[in-house]
């Protein structure tokens, strides 16, 4: 594995991960389209993946990679299921506005 340029310190990776994660949270909280929310979740997952990989590299351990793969597998499965649910919701409700999908309340 080629070594990283020494000019890129660890904190940059982590900061990037944090920025991506906060963006994911913000998207998750403030966007109303369900697909955007879904994409925000993916963004958060990948932000976490990034920090896993970073630490794995830094600590010279393979655990982080394994975790990252697991997260990808779960994310793929979740994407499949989630998109299916979204399609069904749209078929039934003709809307993807997340605030209108609150029929559990009342």
């Amino acid at each position: 594995m080629p070594a990283l340029p020494p000019s890129v310190p660890l904190s940059w990776y982590l900061t990037l991960s944090l920025i991506l994660f906060v963006l994911g949270i913000a998207g998750f909280l403030f966007r109303r389209n369900i697909i955007t929310v879904f994409m925000s979740i993916e963004l958060m997952l990948n932000a976490v993946n990034l920090s896993f990989i970073t630490f794995s590299y830094k600590l010279k351990q393979v655990d982080g990679h394994i975790f990252a793969f697991f997260v990808m597998v779960v994310a793929a499965a979740e994407a499949a299921v989630g998109l299916a649910i979204i399609l069904t919701v749209f078929k039934n409700r003709q809307t993807l506005e997340i605030d209108e999908l609150s029929s559990l309340k009342n």
């Binding site: 909280l29 605030d99 999908l101 029929s103 309340k105």
Partner: protein, 646 residues
């Protein structure tokens, strides 16, 4: 020897009649009910003869014990299901199964027109089972099982006419009053376990042998007195006797079997069985004698003025039970048991005869509405005459021997007790013959048409005036009823020659006997004869006299007639405070206030908390997400503040 068969046969009869009796024809119910008791009686005879009781020699010096299995094992306490026969049990077995069988036969005739026929016989068989367990049990716990069981059956049978309120009330009264006594009994059993570490009669009495006699009050006296509290409940002694007269609401055979011949003598049996304890606690023994004497005297006075024939005999039963306890208390245990036996004969006969009269009168129990019946019911007349003479202590009849034995013992103990006893014997003769004369002699005070009409309204509800019988006049009972009467009459006459005190001598020492007839016996016989003569004078020769006497002694008469207002007294002193306390304190304050308050408060609190928490469940997914974020930030902050993960 298969002792277990003796109680189990009636239990089987109970099971068959209780489970399938509704669908069985009457003949089958009769066969099962009477047959099971007959078999049980025969098995008693076979067992006793196998033990050599009917041969010569000296059988049953030691108790014959059969151990079946260990029932309770707890620490060093070991309670088995054991049955035992000794001489005392043998006597009780003969009484219970013998008289019980006769009364079963009688019931077939008496209950023939009643509803709930199978139910009646099922209960009666169940009673036989428990009574036999009671006398056969070889430890206090089995005795207690039988004791409670007969109490249950008594309750069921007193309340047999459960559509009538007074019958269910009487059943409840019998049951509740007995609870007081049983509470004392169970405390006594606990004390016995505490002090002897065992409940087996053999072990307990064996340990007592070596102990000193208690002169002042101690735990032995406590045990004896608590046992006696149990006996006062079951055997209807002062102050717990009040249930027995009311128990006459049950069918007459029940009164004869349970409330005269067998169950009410369970207390006498239990005290006799525990004689070792009582003999080591002389204070308790004196209490037994005094309570017995007081009961005998007071209930005899009440019996003088009762107008219901069954009530007369009921108070007579209480009085005779008092005699038995007088005998036990003065140390003549065998005389007490002797009187149990003779009393079983003549009192069962009195009740069955009364039942026969009630049957003849189609449900009428009021002596004032009888009269002149001897022409119509000759067999009942002669058998009741035997019983009345026997209970009055007429020389040569059974009551004479047993009562004399008790009175002689009372004289040795304290002469004043003897004199009260003699006076009571006079009253006994008087009220029994008062009932006898009122029922059989004089002008008929009934009208042939009238007693049909109210036949069904009477307590015993033994009316069949409206059914197929349709006689105009009173009639003699069917053979199934008068044959038991005749057999019991024979035993009432000759029962005294079965020398129970001699038979029980290995267990209870007999006093030295002077040769010839002691003067004490002559005096009590004279008292009985005077009582009979007075009754004859009052109710045969000068029928107007009792009215006048009642008028001139109106205050004492009113007290006697109203049974000294004891029921009213108990009602005011015990029942009403309990009811009022339950209503105002237990119901309104404890139940509604505390218990309901706690339960409802719990529910209300949960609802309130839920009401607050439900706002979190907004249904909006994004607010959930915000909470998740907030929460995770909080967790991270908390962990950081605590120093981070190491």
């Amino acid at each position: 020897m298969q002792l277990w068969l003796i109680p189990l046969l009636p239990l089987a009869g109970f099971a068959v009649n209780g489970l399938f009796g509704r669908r069985l024809p009457k003949a089958a119910i009769n066969a099962v009910a009477v047959g099971s008791v007959l078999l049980s009686f025969l098995w008693v005879l076979k067992t006793l003869s196998a033990l050599g009781v009917f041969g010569g020699g000296n059988p049953l010096e030691q108790a014959y014990i059969e151990h079946y299995y260990t029932w309770i094992q707890s620490g060093t306490l070991n309670i088995g299901v054991d049955f035992a026969i000794d001489r005392l049990t043998a006597v009780m077995l003969m009484i219970v199964t013998g008289v019980g069988f006769l009364i079963h036969v009688y019931s077939v005739g008496y209950m023939a027109h009643e509803g709930g026929y199978y139910r009646f016989f099922a209960y009666l068989n169940l009673f036989m089972f428990f009574m036999l367990v009671l006398v056969l049990g070889a430890n206090y716990l089995l005795l207690f099982v039988g004791w409670e069981g007969v109490g249950l059956c008594s309750y069921l049978l007193v309340g047999f006419y459960f559509t009538e309120k007074f019958a269910t009330d009487a059943g409840n009264k019998a049951f509740i009053v007995n609870r007081i006594g049983d509470f004392g009994f169970s405390l006594a059993v606990f004390l016995i376990v505490m002090h002897f570490g065992s409940l087996d009669f053999a072990t307990v009495f064996g340990k007592i042998q070596g102990m000193p006699v208690e002169s002042s009050a101690g735990w032995m006296t406590a045990i004896a007195l608590l046992l006696f509290v149990g006996a006062t409940g079951k055997s209807a002694q002062i102050p717990l006797y009040v249930w027995l007269p009311d128990a006459m609401a049950g069918p007459t055979p029940v009164s004869a079997l349970i409330h005269a011949a067998t169950m009410v003598t369970a207390g006498v049996y239990m005290v006799t069985r525990s004689s070792a304890i009582f003999l080591h606690a002389h204070g308790a023994l004196e209490v037994v004698a005094i309570i017995g004497l007081a009961t005998a005297f007071f209930s005899a006075t009440v019996g003088l003025a009762q107008t219901d024939i069954k009530k007369v005999y009921a108070y007579s039963t209480v009085s005779q039970l008092g005699y038995m306890f007088l005998g036990l208390g003065t140390g003549a245990f065998s005389a007490g048991i002797f009187h149990v036996m003779t009393h079983a004969f003549f009192k069962a006969l009195l009740f069955l005869g009364a039942g026969s009269l009630i049957h003849a009168m189609s449900g009428e129990q009021d002596l004032r509405k009888m009269g002149g019946l001897r022409k119509y019911t000759p067999i009942t007349f002669w058998t009741l005459l035997c019983a009345s003479l026997a209970i009055s202590g007429f020389p040569g009849l059974s009551g004479y021997f047993s009562k004399d034995a008790i009175l002689a013992s009372a004289y040795d103990y304290a002469p004043w007790m003897y004199w009260v006893g003699v006076f009571t014997a006079g009253m006994t003769a008087f009220y029994v013959f008062r009932a006898f004369f009122l029922a059989f002699f004089g002008e008929p005070r009934w009208k042939a048409a009238e007693h049909h009409a109210d036949g069904h309204s009477k307590p015993d509800a033994h009316g069949h005036g409206a059914d197929a019988h349709g006689h105009g006049a009173p009639h003699e009972s069917p053979p199934s009823m008068w044959i038991p009467l005749a057999v019991l009459a024979v035993f009432s006459v000759i029962g005294g020659y079965i020398n129970i005190p001699r038979w029980l001598e290995p267990m209870f020492k007999l006093p030295e006997e002077a040769p010839g007839i002691p003067w004490t016996a002559l005096v009590s016989v004279a008292a009985g004869l005077i009582g009979i003569a007075l009754a004859a004078w009052f109710y045969l020769i000068a029928p107007a006299l009792p009215e006048e006497l009642a008028r001139s002694f109106s205050t004492p008469y009113r007290w006697i007639y109203n049974k000294y207002f004891v029921d009213e007294f108990y009602s005011a002193m015990v029942v009403e405070p309990v009811v009022d306390g339950s209503r105002s304190l237990l119901w309104r304050i404890v139940d509604v206030g505390s218990i309901d308050g706690i339960v409802n408060g719990t529910g209300k609190t949960a609802r309130n908390i839920g009401g607050i928490l439900k706002r979190l469940q907004s249904g909006s997914i994004r607010s959930y997400a915000a909470w998740v974020v907030l929460g995770s930030i909080l967790v991270i902050v908390a962990i950081t503040m605590a120093g981070g993960v190491r």
